[in-house]
Amino acid sequence: MTKTKLTRQDFTSDQEVRWCPGCGDYAILANMQRVMPELGIPKENIVFVSGIGCASRFPYYMDTYGFHTIHGRAPAVATGLKLSRPELSVWIVTGDGDGLSIGANHLIHLLRRNLDVNVLLFNNRIYGLTKGQYSPTSEVGKITKSTPNGSIDRPIDAVSLALASQATFVARCFDVDAAGLQSLIKAANQHNGTSFIEIYQNCNVFNDKAFAHISDRDVRADKTVWLEAGKPLLFGNNNDKGLVRDANGFSVIDVKSAADLQKVYVHEPRHGDSSYAFQLSQLSYPDFPVPMGILRQVEQPTYENCLQEQVDASIKKNGQGDLQTLLNSGTVWEM
């Protein structure tokens, strides 16, 4: 059935896509549909699980298995699914409200359990589906329908939170960066353990250009740094700037010579201590380039494997359970 190489079309469902014209979600969908055939997974083994929000409509448009659950709970549904069916490739799609407001607790616990699933958090820094209230990632002072005088809570950084939750794969990307996004989707798929990708996504209706100051073509090179394992942290139009790291944290230098280049810190996503990645995650506009790409990637046992191992070990030790024996255990007597 799935022998022949799949194409983008194979991953396009028959459902009419219903996001606002111009929404960043379209690009993410397109990239996903484009990459999926390259992963080599039979499409019947792929499941998209989402919560509620514009982002969470995603599963309807993928011609795979899909579950559009309730607000904030996709990680919990996905956990049950993955424990029940470790062989499936499970993708969670969530939004900044879905994943960081009502559902943040499930996300944290998913990450610390390290189930081998992939999380895509579409961060548009707004509640899209409910028509424009501020979200946990909205910047302080944000004027929205529910905050006419400006919001007063400090935004959550999804990547920092994921790191504190001990995520084993943490990455960040723009909706508009097709190449970057595709590479991250592939890397996430490769990773054994929970992969967390925050995608900065434009909601052109309720929060247009929320990331334009760093994502626009003319500023992107200067305002972001693309992280690559084993490569120095260079950015700027001609890689003419670099990040140097010392006991006081990061600082930016101009890279004009080989000597300068020497000073630039070499990205090491496999750092055992998550503090390095955390420090990266705290770099912010305008003082620093915003890190994009994979901040952290380490190997740790997955929850579903550990659980399966306990099951297997128990069978090995006690034999495949026999029901009659079980019932007849404890104090049994005959009348």
């Binding site: 019947e44 709970r73 919990a76 549904v77 128990s314």
Partner: protein, 622 residues
């Protein structure tokens, strides 16, 4: 034996002591002795509060009650005939249940000024008139224990810990039970700690000998073998039976089990038990909260596992939103609710039947699902199987209600043969022409169960209303009406499988008592007692609370009065009015305690007396 308080057909004994005194173990070993010797049994344990209190205080008292009899019994009994009190607090907390003339055995070493004060006794009760109505046996248990083990290299406190075995030895003698099986149990249990084995054995034997030779007791009692159906029996608590039921359901369905839960009293022990059954292809998942446990259950059901979750009242509230999703996506799973006294945090260790309406109506929108209730500790096992049968056949979440009384109470379970248990194997749809996720079985109205991983059947489901058949999102008014109706009709359709609830007694008469859940034992016992006296009273017990069998209405018509006893303010009573316009008499109690047979008999008598008079039937009695 000439004794009035002790009836050798039926003894009710209670062991009470400090939480650290090993009362549960002592009780449990004595229960085994009685069971093995052929009595029917029913026991209750009693942990008074959720935090351990300082030793010697009333909140620290732990109790174990056992009733054993020479005939079939259905309750742990209303009153105690024998009380073993290890300290003054245990005495104070339990004496009010001891019948006049009952036997009180106490550890006389513990009636010191200090212990009396901890128990908040202003005067030593042994020196006042308040215990005169009982037959007192003061035994220096601590001293005797220390004596018994004095030759062993034990710390004082380790030595003292054996006094429960000493007490057990006394009781074993008093009820003419064999001491050997207990010695064997000790030897097995402490195979790696020979010192403990020896100490406990010595204490046990010392107690036995003391009772035999001290001439304290003038008589020994014997409760004869009960005439129960031939076969293998085991003692089982409701929670153990729930765990076993889940394993059995998975084996009978030939599926792995994913059991998710978040700890909550009195449900947690089911999760504990199941986490030990991994070699039965059982996975347990302790979630971060009840919402997660419910959602993981949905995920597992979607994945094609047998999926269940357990909780108590507060957790049921939290699960309610996700339950709506389970209903909307029509996936099979079982939600077990072990009720406790509410509202809010309530009294977590106490018992109530107050979550019935929440199980039925505790969700927004029109969201029907089947609700059934277990009625005896061992019935929890069969109820789980039935819940899964319906869940799978009708593709629906099912709520199974238990309660704190069943959870920790134990009865004698006539073990089934596996071959007599139902086959629960589901049929997964693996291929189909023109497959759609909401195509329906014409009879059960169930949609197909399709496992992700099935090639060619890729599809999307979710909580938004969907077009019948295609499963596509639909806001069409007529479709919504149709789906609302379909979801309801599907659940109502479960009735097709259900027999009319059995009637205990004649199918007409003066009074029909309708009960549900854990009150069955007390209700049936009370009704049987009155039937023996010739009263025209019958009982009917409902396993299903939703859907309700239509026949109930017709049977009810053949009685002058319907009595509905419940441990709530009248939830089934309301339900039967709602469904059948049934004008019944409620009998309610919401004290956190189970019904006693005595109070039920009284309530029934009152109603039977009304039948003598000419009364307007539509006038409620209370």
């Amino acid at each position: 034996m000439s004794d009035t308080a002790i009836d050798e057909k039926n003894v009710n004994i209670r062991f009470a002591g400090d939480s650290g005194d090993g009362m549960q173990l002592m009780g449990s070993l004595f229960t085994d002795s009685t069971a093995i010797s052929g009595n029917d049994i029913f026991n209750l344990t009693d942990f008074p509060a959720e935090i351990r209190a300082p030793a010697g205080t009333i909140p620290g008292v732990s109790g174990y009650q056992l009733r054993f009899a020479d005939h079939k019994i259905q309750t742990p009994g209303d009153n105690t005939q024998v009380l073993v009190a290890m300290n003054p607090a245990a005495l104070k907390a339990n004496i009010q249940n001891l019948v006049s003339g009952g036997i009180l055995i106490y550890n006389s070493d513990s009636f010191t000024a200090r212990d009396l004060k901890k128990a908040k006794y202003l005067e030593n009760p042994l020196e006042t008139a308040e215990l005169l109505q009982y037959r007192l046996f003061g035994i220096p248990m601590t001293e005797l224990t220390l004596q018994a083990v004095k030759n062993l290299e034990l710390t004082q406190s380790a030595a003292k810990k054996c006094k429960n075995m000493l007490a057990l030895g006394i009781i074993i003698w008093l009820f003419s039970k064999p001491v050997k099986p207990i010695e064997k149990w000790i030897a097995d249990k402490f195979v790696k700690q020979p010192l403990s084995a020896e100490a406990n054995t010595l204490a046990l034997q010392a107690g036995y000998s003391y009772a035999e030779v001290s001439e304290l007791f003038t008589e020994q009692y014997t409760v004869a073998h009960a005439n129960l159906t031939h076969g293998h029996y085991r003692k089982v608590t409701g929670n153990q039976a729930l765990a076993l039921g889940c394993v059995a359901a998975a084996q009978l369905a030939n599926l792995p089990l994913l059991f998710s839960g978040y700890p909550i009293t009195p449900a947690s022990t089911v999760l504990h038990d199941l986490s030990q059954y991994k070699n039965y292809n059982v996975k347990t998942f302790q979630a971060e909260d009840e919402i997660s446990a419910m959602c993981a259950t949905i995920g597992a059901a979607y994945g094609g596992s047998l999926a269940a979750t357990i909780t108590s009242g507060p957790g049921l509230d939290l699960k309610s939103e996700a339950l709506g999703l389970a209903i909307m996506t029509e996936l099979p799973m079982v939600i077990i609710v072990v009720q406790r006294a509410g509202p809010a945090t309530g009294m977590p260790t106490k018992n109530e039947q107050t979550d019935l309406l929440a199980a039925l109506y505790g969700r927004h929108g029109e969201s029907p699902l089947p609700v059934l209730a277990a009625n005896k500790p061992h019935d929890c096992f069969y109820s789980v199987l039935e819940a899964f049968r319906v869940a799978i056949k009708y593709m629906t979440p099912v709520i199974l209600l238990s309660d704190g009384y069943l959870a920790t109470g134990a009865d004698a379970w006539h073990l089934p043969e596996i071959k007599d248990l139902p086959d629960l194997a589901p049929i997964f749809l693996t291929k189909a022409e023109d497959f759609t996720p909401y195509q329906r079985d014409p009879i059960s109205l169930a949609r197909p169960w399709v496992k992700p991983g099935t090639p060619g059947l890729e599809h999307r489901i979710g909580g938004i209303e969907k077009e019948n058949g295609s499963g596509n999102i639909s806001y069409d008014p007529d479709n919504h009406q149709q789906m609302v109706d379909l979801r309801k009709n599907k659940i109502d359709g479960v009735l097709a499988d259900l027999p009319l609830p059995e009637i205990l007694g004649k199918d007409q008469g003066d009074v029909l008592v309708i009960s549900w859940g854990s009150t069955l034992g007390a209700v049936a016992t009370a009704v049987e007692q009155l039937q023996t006296e010739g009263a025209a009273i019958s009982a009917m017990h409902l396993q299903y609370l939703y859907p309700l069998h239509n026949g109930i209405k017709f049977i009810a018509k053949s009685f002058k009065y319907i009595l509905i006893p419940e441990l709530n303010t009248g939830q089934l009573w309301k339900l039967l009015r709602m469904e059948f316009l049934l004008d019944a008499v409620p009998y309610n109690k919401v004290t956190g305690q189970p019904f006693t047979v005595t109070e039920l008999v009284a309530a029934m008598r009152e109603l039977l007396a009304e039948c003598e008079k000419t009364y307007d039937k539509h006038q409620p009695l209370r």
